[in-house]
């Protein structure tokens, strides 16, 4: 109990908790769940973008997208490492993903249907991710906070690139501008859902905030995102697909329409439109790569045996 009080005091004082420090089991469990879920999201998130890598319409865009997807893989790696400092293994986490025990962001279960989707993902999805992640640079668990510093820097870069891709489209041919509008139409609502369920239906939020695992509520972050994004859409000349969206003069923010939470919960249950494709692709990559990992292990063992001899 004294340990717990000391822990809570350190957290309240915005000190970092490090791997070898004492921590409550619930704190550890929550972090493992959150960090591994974040790692899985980075890895699964490579797939919807990878879907257009082979079809990027210019060499420059192809290189930018390659570098972006690579960054995401890199984020996945540091996040797995951060989670490992909490005493879980990468294999266990991957197994939890493949068996459906672990979740990843519902956003990656939506399909990428045209080239503008790559821009919309950068602008909206990375944009929402940044809103979620900026506060996590000061989250209470040290390795996670430090990973977030690097992740956020790269995500901001991706967001600008996504916006730039869309700018080229809206300034292009009418059918290019139509692609951009179509992408916004499809990604807007799923992006708003990325902040999670509304606060009145988010049972773990209070404790996570007390423990500085989260630092702002879902609805606060969602509002920030809407307020930041609406002017950007206007600059692109694209219409946000929400007839109820309007500026609230008193509140100093945008009011927006009702979110289809039944769709969100279906996606959380793994029933999003491309959920089966995503998890099938990840499992196939893992299973078909087993012989490679086995071979590398076997070779390493032989080398070590030789070196020891």
């Amino acid at each position: 109990a004294g340990l717990l009080a000391a822990f809570e005091a350190r957290v309240a004082a915005d000190e970092f908790i490090e791997p070898n420090d004492w921590m409550p089991e619930a704190y550890r469990r929550t972090l493992v769940r959150q960090i591994s879920q974040h790692a899985h999201s980075e890895i699964v998130g490579m797939l919807p973008e990878g879907n257009w890598l082979t079809r990027a319409p210019s060499l420059k865009r192809k290189a930018i997208l390659l570098a972006k997807v690579q960054d995401e893989g890199g984020h996945g790696l540091y996040l797995y490492c951060a989670a490992e400092t909490l005493g879980t293994s990468r294999e266990d986490m991957i197994d939890a993903l493949h068996s459906g025990r672990a979740k990843y962001s519902t956003i990656f279960n939506y399909p990428t249907l045209n080239w503008a989707d790559i821009g919309a993902i950068g602008w909206l999805v990375d944009g929402a991710a940044i809103m979620n992640q900026v506060p996590l640079q000061r989250t209470s668990y040290g390795p996670y906070a430090r990973a977030m510093v690097r992740v956020c820097k790269e995500e901001s870069f991706h967001q600008r690139q996504g916006y730039d891709l869309l700018l080229a489209l809206v300034n292009g041919l009418p059918e290019q501008k139509a692609m951009a509008q179509d992408a916004l139409n499809r990604w807007w609502w799923p992006a708003l859902m990325m902040f999670g369920p509304p606060d009145d239906n988010s049972p773990n939020s209070a404790q996570s905030i007390r423990w500085r695992i989260k630092r702002e509520t879902n609805d606060e972050l969602r509002q920030k995102f809407v307020d930041a994004t609406v002017p950007q859409a206007e600059l692109l000349g694209l219409a946000i697909p929400d007839p109820d969206l309007r500026w609230n003069e008193e509140g100093g923010h945008y009011d927006f329409g009702a979110i289809q939470w039944d769709e969100f919960y279906a996606a959380v249950r793994g029933e999003g439109p491309t959920a089966r494709e995503r998890i099938t692709a990840r499992r196939a990559a893992w299973d078909e790569g087993a012989w490679v990992r086995d071979a590398a292990t076997a070779h390493e063992a032989k080398r070590a045996a030789l070196a020891a001899a």
């Binding site: 060499l59 570098a67 070779h299 032989k302």
Partner: protein
């Protein structure tokens, strides 16, 4: 137009482009995250090289085509990449063997091209040579790991060697454009690089516990636009947007 130089630059640029495109297909599907990142890295180098080489080819041609125009608006028979580069990814062993052969050849070639009498080509080569040296080492490490790994990985490597060995003569072909440029000191003859290639292959395969494949009937044609069936489907995907919207900028 300096047709032989244009030919040489498209041969070089198309090799990078097509192999880079193939590696893009791995994204999100590799055996480990680390390998996924490495393959993206290799692809990124190759796409960068392709951009420089094809942009220069466009300048030499003088018809207003840039790298994108050359990449996205030519049909298969106008591509002059080697057959090796367009082979399907197959399993990871196939990808590694393809890359090992290509990068071993290309690293040596671009190291020579640094001394090209053509200044722009020599500058491109300086950057590419460093990248390709790393590619060759990365691929060789995996050749050893997989050859020496398990029975299964060894068997897969043998299949992969048998598949790709048939394209090595095509890889080293000096066609008329190439010979003309070699005579002007712009490029080395590819055939001159072949003995060193053979030595490296023999050494690495030896360390991997794999035999150098015996003599086979060579499959030729890449440099003159006679490709395998695999190129046209690769291009159908790669070129789909610029072909559907020929007037668009991206």
């Amino acid at each position: 137009m300096d047709a032989p130089l244009f030919g040489v630059l498209t041969q070089l640029g198309d090799d990078s482009l097509i192999l880079g495109q193939r590696l893009c297909e791995w994204c999100g599907h590799a055996p480990t995250i680390e390998v996924d990142l490495s393959l993206s890295n290799l692809a990124l180098d190759l796409i960068g090289q392709a951009t420089l080489l094809l942009d220069y080819a466009g300048v030499v041609e003088g018809a207003g085509r840039d790298a994108d125009r050359l990449a996205f608006h030519r049909s298969a028979e106008a591509f002059r990449n080697c057959l090796l580069a367009e082979q399907p990814n197959g399993d990871f062993a196939q990808t590694i063997v393809r890359h090992f052969f290509y990068a071993t050849y290309a690293a040596a070639l671009f190291e020579e091209l640094v001394h090209s009498s053509d200044r722009r080509l020599s500058e491109i080569a300086a950057k590419a040579a460093k990248e390709l040296r790393y590619h060759a080492e990365y691929a060789a490490d995996w050749v050893v790991r997989l050859g020496d790994g398990t029975e299964e990985s060894n068997a897969r490597m043998r299949d992969a060697l048998a598949w790709h060995w048939r394209f090595v003569d095509d890889l080293f072909l000096d066609d008329a454009d190439w010979v003309a440029c070699a005579e002007r000191g712009l490029v080395p003859l590819r055939q001159a690089l072949r003995p060193a290639f053979g030595d490296i292959v023999a050494t690495v395969l030896g360390r991997a516990g794999l035999d150098v494949p015996g003599k086979v009937w060579p499959i030729m044609g890449g440099r003159s636009g006679r490709h395998s069936e695999h190129l046209s489907t690769l291009l159908a995907i790669m070129q789909v947007l610029p072909r559907a919207h020929p007037q668009a900028a991206w």
